[in-house]
């Protein structure tokens, strides 16, 4: 996926035909995300439909309008725009106005993918580009978390804000588990984090369902297991080491893993084949880097959450990691390039 399609492919026999194509891989990820998406619906009701729908609409419409006529059908069919929109939607707070979610989808596809030359050429994960833009642009709307325990058909007024306006919510907001931890030193029970009955982004609240989706992807061979495993292990170990110094101040290792967008990011975003390293050693470096950055940002930074920036920063380092971890060509000496 990293390389441009060659004009003429010359290879030795034997040839293996692989069933995996871009559309099937994207389809698998969509299937794997279904349980977590449904959980978002369950906890946040109709708001989840509105926000995720708007972000998917933004992403897909942008993809269509920037594709040349001859490629239009193809880029739609591979489902990558749909997936970007869905992933972005899952990282958004339930009370976000639909127009902001739509704008996020447009930016994710436009600045995250199309401008780089389309699928396979982008340096950063498009969904996270969209989220980073939204977070920097509308910091209040993006950090106002409505509570999950309302009836399904509760229409959150802010979802329907007229484009380019926003009404600040007074009541019915709740800090995320990470926010509670950072600003009030108050831990959330692990069982709540596991099942998802906490406030937070639409798709990040239930650890259990995210892991189930990850296991499905692993068995479908759509996912490089080294990335999520190295991220999770690094976060566990690093948090445990910090805990040795001051267990009051620093969050517990398991809390760190199950809170915030860590599982969503580690399983579905960091593993994006376009923006992660290709070599096995490289993927370990990549995952460990993300894990370290997440803990550093969460514990010592100004913000409660750091998964997004950690992944984006390591995305930027990916070409470099790939370069330094190229395996030695058989018969060549180390440092011998050609």
């Amino acid at each position: 996926m990293k390389q441009r399609d060659p004009e003429l492919l010359l290879q030795h026999a034997p040839f293996l035909r692989q069933g995996m194509t871009t559309p099937t891989a994207m389809g698998d990820v969509l299937i794997a995300l279904t349980p977590a998406t449904l959980a978002g619906l369950w906890y946040f009701g109709i708001s989840a439909v509105l926000v995720i729908g708007a972000s998917i609409a933004g992403a897909v419409l942008t993809e269509i309008s920037f594709s040349g006529t001859e490629r239009r059908g193809e880029s739609l069919l591979d489902g990558s725009g749909l997936l970007t929109g869905l992933l972005l939607g899952l990282t958004l707070p339930p009370g976000l106005p639909m127009w902001m979610a739509f704008l996020g989808g447009v930016i994710a596809l436009g600045l995250g993918k199309v401008i780089w030359g389309g699928l396979g050429n982008n340096l950063f994960n498009p969904a996270l580009v969209g989220r980073a833009f939204l977070l920097a642009t509308f910091p209040i709307a993006m950090t106002t978390w409505t509570t999950p325990d309302e009836a399904f058909w509760t229409f959150r007024a802010t979802n329907f804000d007229i484009p380019f306006t926003y009404t600040e919510i007074d009541g019915l907001t709740a800090a995320t588990p990470l926010g509670l931890m950072k600003f009030d030193q108050q831990a959330t029970p692990l069982s709540n984090l596991f099942m998802g009955s906490t406030s937070g982004s639409l798709g990040e609240t239930s650890g259990l369902l995210l892991i189930l989706g990850g296991i499905y992807l692993y068995f479908r061979r759509d996912l490089d297991w080294r990335i999520p495993v190295s991220i999770l292990l690094t976060v566990l170990v690093f948090s445990a080491i910090l805990g040795l110094f001051d267990s009051e101040r620093f969050p517990a290792p398991l809390f760190s893993v199950f809170s915030g967008g860590l599982l969503l990011g580690a399983i579905y975003m960091a593993t994006d084949p376009v923006t992660s390293p290709t070599t096995p050693v490289g993927t370990w470096i990549f995952g460990i880097g993300i894990g370290l950055l997440i803990v550093l940002i969460r514990v010592f930074g100004g913000m409660p959450e750091g998964v997004m920036y950690a992944i984006l920063l390591m995305n930027a380092a990916t070409p470099l990691i790939d370069r330094f971890t190229q395996p030695r060509v058989f018969g060549h000496l180390r440092g011998d390039n050609d």
């Binding site: 910091p139 209040i140 950090t143 106002t144 600003f183 100004g302």
Partner: protein
């Protein structure tokens, strides 16, 4: 046949002597220096006036019913008016009413905010041990969030009647249950805390050293209004 290569070059192409180079640069530098001194002299009084006016306005804003002020500093271990033209490392300002009656101090403080150093000035009335006003002089907090520390009238209003004992505390919006507490700005907890921390830390530096009530330095005669910065 050998061709004679001429070494004559047109006059203009000849390398100028080092002396010429030095003289040119020196002349340029001299003219530039004169020009800079000229513009400095021409604008100095306006710039100084602007600064002094800005400071006066800030002091009058943080201390109620104050119309005169003077700059104070510790000279020989005593808080006294800073003589005209002199400067001291740490200074505060005393505010007086029209009748030259002492009202309170305007104390400048600074410390790290979310992005960069926040510089602020707050009014303090020693009689009540209360902060009576706060004005952010310089900050680079996030527009739309952190900049509410000076744009949000509700937050600034927190400091208009705030007892400082034992220390000023920051609490979440709506959880205020004691006079010495300040409502944090939603979404800008760090900036809100920075402001309160700066005030608490500056209080520690100054409060124990202020003269006893009643023995504050007096405002000199009205005609001699202090305008230096």
């Amino acid at each position: 046949m050998t061709e004679v290569i001429t070494t004559d070059r047109p006059e203009a192409d000849q390398d100028p002597s080092p002396a010429r180079l030095i003289v040119t640069l020196a002349l340029a530098g001299l003219i530039s220096g004169v020009a800079i001194v000229g513009i400095f002299e021409a604008t100095f009084s306006t710039i100084a006036e602007n600064k002094a006016r800005e400071l006066r306005e800030a002091v009058f804003k943080v201390l109620p019913s104050v119309t005169q002020m003077q700059e104070l500093a510790y000279l020989n271990d005593q808080l006294m008016p800073l003589p005209q033209g002199e400067s001291a490392e740490k200074t505060i300002y005393a505010g007086y009413t029209e009748e030259a009656k002492f009202v309170g101090y305007a104390i400048p403080g600074e410390g790290p905010g979310f992005q960069d150093t926040i510089k602020l000035l707050y009014g303090y009335m020693p009689a009540d041990r209360k902060v009576v006003g706060m004005e952010v002089l310089e900050s680079r907090e996030t527009p739309g969030l952190g900049d509410k520390i000076y744009k949000d009238a509700v937050f600034v209003g927190n400091f208009s009647d705030l007892p400082i004992d034992p220390v000023i505390e920051v609490v979440k919006k709506g959880r205020r249950d004691s006079d010495n507490q300040v409502d944090a700005i939603t979404g800008a907890t760090i900036s809100s805390r920075a402001v309160v921390r700066i005030i608490n830390e500056t209080n520690e530096i100054w409060l124990d050293n202020l003269p006893a009530a009643g023995s504050e330095p007096e405002m000199p005669a009205k005609s001699d209004e202090v305008a230096h910065d």
